[in-house]
């Protein structure tokens, strides 16, 4: 059993999610009585392999979730994959995988090109590092869910405005349900990303106070990109709050969610290929902490 778990690789769950995505896409082409079961089976198999992979890393490679950029992205994709499986089982006629699985695969792709080196750790900064990483994780997931709901809202609203009956195998959730989701995600994303940023400042201060390692400068590209993301998410949440009682609030929220997702994607891409002090290896005498990518 242990040998079996140790041989699980990223390819295993990527392949499972990719097959589930292909099954979702096939809804648009042909009907099948067994597709629903196949989709759930592949998604469940992928999630199972994904979970075992994370557990194996935590148990054998001291890489607890959030302890490296690689693990952070994998945990974010794991949360979304779990959400996809739950939604597919509870709403089998909704092609939610067409929207969620590309994000899941994108995050796994980001994990593949990001560093597997653990962030510097020490007991003194462990809690602040975990808080910092968790809040960014929550913000990232909230932005992704908001964008998926926003995109689905726009497609459904477009269909209703064109006065067309629903496409075969492509029945979207109601506008009311999607609007309900996307009205909450801007404020959740704003609060969690702000909390993540503040906890990052505290973490940096702890480093400086205890002289554990070189602190991340304010002009570091990671600080700048995260600050830009936080500013955008807070602004988006404020706009969302201002328009909430207007008849076009849902449409505004949908576009805001999509732009937020674009900003998040740009921020991730910048983080993947930019040079940074953030999460850098410790100075020779220093002991370091966990953090988000």
């Amino acid at each position: 059993m242990i040998e079996f778990v140790s041989r699980i690789s990223v390819v295993c769950f990527v392949a499972s999610y990719a097959v589930a995505l292909a099954c979702e896409a096939s809804r648009l082409i042909f009907r099948s009585g067994v597709r629903g079961a196949a989709m759930v089976a592949f998604a469940a198999a992928g999630l199972c392999a994904h979970t075992l992979f994370l557990v194996w890393r935590a148990a054998n490679e001291s890489s607890i979730p959030l302890s490296s950029a690689f693990d952070w992205y994998l945990l974010a994709s794991w949360l979304l994959a779990g959400g996809y499986l739950w939604l597919t089982i509870s709403n089998p006629r909704t092609p939610v995988g067409l929207f969620m699985l590309p994000v899941v695969l994108g995050l796994i792709g980001a994990a593949q090109v990001s560093s597997r080196e653990p962030f510097p750790q020490s007991p003194a900064t462990q809690i602040w590092g975990a808080i910092h990483g968790s809040f960014y994780l929550a913000a990232c997931v909230a932005v992704a869910i908001g964008a998926i709901a926003g995109l689905m809202w726009l497609i459904q609203a477009g269909r209703l405005a064109r006065k067309q009956a629903p496409l075969r195998g492509f029945r979207m959730p109601s506008l009311e349900k999607l609007a309900h989701i996307q009205s909450r995600t801007p404020s959740i994303a704003a609060w969690t990303s702000s909390a993540g940023f503040v906890s990052g400042i505290v973490l940096n201060a702890v480093y400086r106070q205890r002289e554990l390692m070189e602190t991340v400068p304010w002009t570091d590209p990671v600080v700048l990109r995260i600050a830009a993301l936080v500013v955008w998410l807070v602004a988006a949440a404020m706009v969302s709050g201002v328009v909430s009682r207007r008849p076009d609030a849902a449409r505004t929220n949908a576009w805001l969610s999509l732009v937020s997702f674009g900003v998040l994607t740009a921020s991730i891409v910048w983080g993947l290929f930019g040079v940074t002090q953030h999460g850098a290896p410790p100075a020779p005498t220093a002991v370091h902490s966990e953090a988000a990518p």
Binding site: R31, Q156, Q164, R168, L175, P247, A250
Partner: protein, 424 residues
């Protein structure tokens, strides 16, 4: 002839005659009991719906189904109708055509509304009445089982019964449900008290709507409809306030000009606090100014919009017809193959028995001439004989089965009977 059928549908029988010919469940039971007395040993099922009355019958050997003329007379006597009236409008079929027809009926392909699902339940009920009346035997039983299986295949493998065709059902299921997740917390406003309003309201009630207000210029009619459908009547003078409170409006008045012009709507819009509004304007001429459709948060559907969606659905159903008929044809051939194969069973049994009898006699003679053979050796020789007989018989039996499924085993059966001197 093994299977026979007489019947009439909305296509062949005028409505007034169809009404006289229709059987209630009790009348169908009585008719089947009478059929059992008149035609003992025959099987029969009476399918009576608002669009069709059909009698299916089956029998084998000496209990062949009664001639279709007798069936027409039987139906006429049961309902007290002149036979002459029925003879000209009822259709008669036998054997394979009966199977094909029943499979099409059960799959909704012969219905007035193509692909309508209620017919499956009606076919099941008709068969259940026949079972209770003891007129359903093995032939009818297998045919109806196969019909229900075919209907299930058509439903699952085509979309013929999926898309909705009536304007109220499309309005509620395809459009209102696209906007609202639930209706039990929504205010529904019905303007006008026509038939379309009542039908739409029934769909909305089915979808969970509870808070329903009916407005009509004639308060009495609004009250009647409201009482009938569990809604409450409102005053037409409060139209603006009711529009403000409503989440979904169904309008079906006979007014000659829009009763909700853009200006009136704008007044109520300001007080709606951004809540979305679905308007199903089923009136001709329209009750809502078409410009209202451009207001944010408003989903306005006129009868033309909904008719277009219905027509698209109908077209989609029509496009599935070839696939559905291919399934019907495949299942009909399979059923007829199985049915014809049943007729070959006695011949096969006789053939096997004859070979077995000859083998046993030859073996007995052999064992008498070779008394030194022990039990083990005798068993081996018996097995060898049996295997030899089975191998020799295998090709002709396969040919017979194949001929049954292709529809004409009679030539082979006759040849086997003559070659091996088999009796009828």
């Amino acid at each position: 002839m093994t299977l026979a059928f007489v019947g009439g549908t909305h296509r062949t029988v005028p409505l007034d005659l169809r009404e006289r010919l229709a059987f209630s469940a009790e009348q169908a039971t009585e008719a089947l009991q009478r059929f059992r007395r008149l035609f003992p040993g025959r099987e029969g099922v009476l399918l009576s719906t608002c669009n069709r009355v059909e009698f299916y019958t089956a029998g084998e050997k000496e209990a062949q189904p009664p001639p279709t003329k007798q069936l027409v007379s039987f139906l006429a006597e049961c309902r007290g109708i002149d036979v002459g009236l029925l003879e000209s409008v009822l259709v008669e079929e036998c054997d394979e055509a009966v199977v094909r027809h029943l499979f099409s009926v059960a799959s909704g392909l012969d219905s007035m509304v193509l692909g309508e699902p209620q017919i499956v339940a009606q076919v099941k009920q008709a068969w259940a009445i026949a079972q209770d009346s003891q007129t359903s035997g093995p032939l009818i039983g297998e045919m109806f089982q196969a019909a229900l299986r075919t209907a299930k295949r058509v439903t699952s493998q085509t979309t013929i019964g999926r898309e909705r065709l009536s304007i109220p059902s499309v309005a509620v299921a395809d459009f209102a449900r696209g906007v609202f997740e639930r209706f039990d917390d929504k205010r529904v406003l019905i303007i006008g008290a026509g038939k379309m309003a009542a039908e739409t309201l029934r769909y909305l009630r089915g979808a969970g709507a509870r808070d329903i207000v009916v407005l009509n210029r004639t308060i009495g009619r609004a009250g009647q409809l409201a009482a009938r459908l569990g809604a409450r009547p409102g005053s037409f003078e409060n139209l603006e306030a009711e529009l403000t409170a409503a989440d979904l409006v169904v309008s079906t008045t006979g007014a000659s000009a829009p009763i909700v012009p853009l200006e009136l709507f704008k007044k109520s819009e300001r007080q709606r606090a951004g809540r979305p509004l679905v308007v199903l304007d089923l009136a001709v001429p329209r009750d809502f100014d078409p410009q209202i459709a451009g207001r944010p948060g408003v989903w306005l559907y006129s009868i033309d919009d909904l008719s277009a969606a219905c027509a698209a659905n109908r077209k989609s159903r029509q496009s599935e017809l070839p696939a559905a008929f291919a399934i019907i044809e495949e299942e009909t051939q399979r059923f007829m193959g199985d049915l014809l194969h049943r007729t070959t069973v006695p011949v096969i049994e006789q053939l096997r028995a004859g070979w077995n009898e000859t083998g046993v006699a030859e073996l007995d003679r052999l064992f008498r001439r070779l008394p030194h053979l022990d039990g083990v050796a005798q068993a081996e020789i018996r097995q060898a004989f049996e295997r030899y007989a089975a191998k020799i018989l295998h090709p002709p039996l396969v040919s017979l089965r194949s001929a049954s499924h292709s529809g004409s085993p009679h030539g082979l059966l006759d040849a086997l009977k003559r070659l091996f001197d088999l009796k009828e």
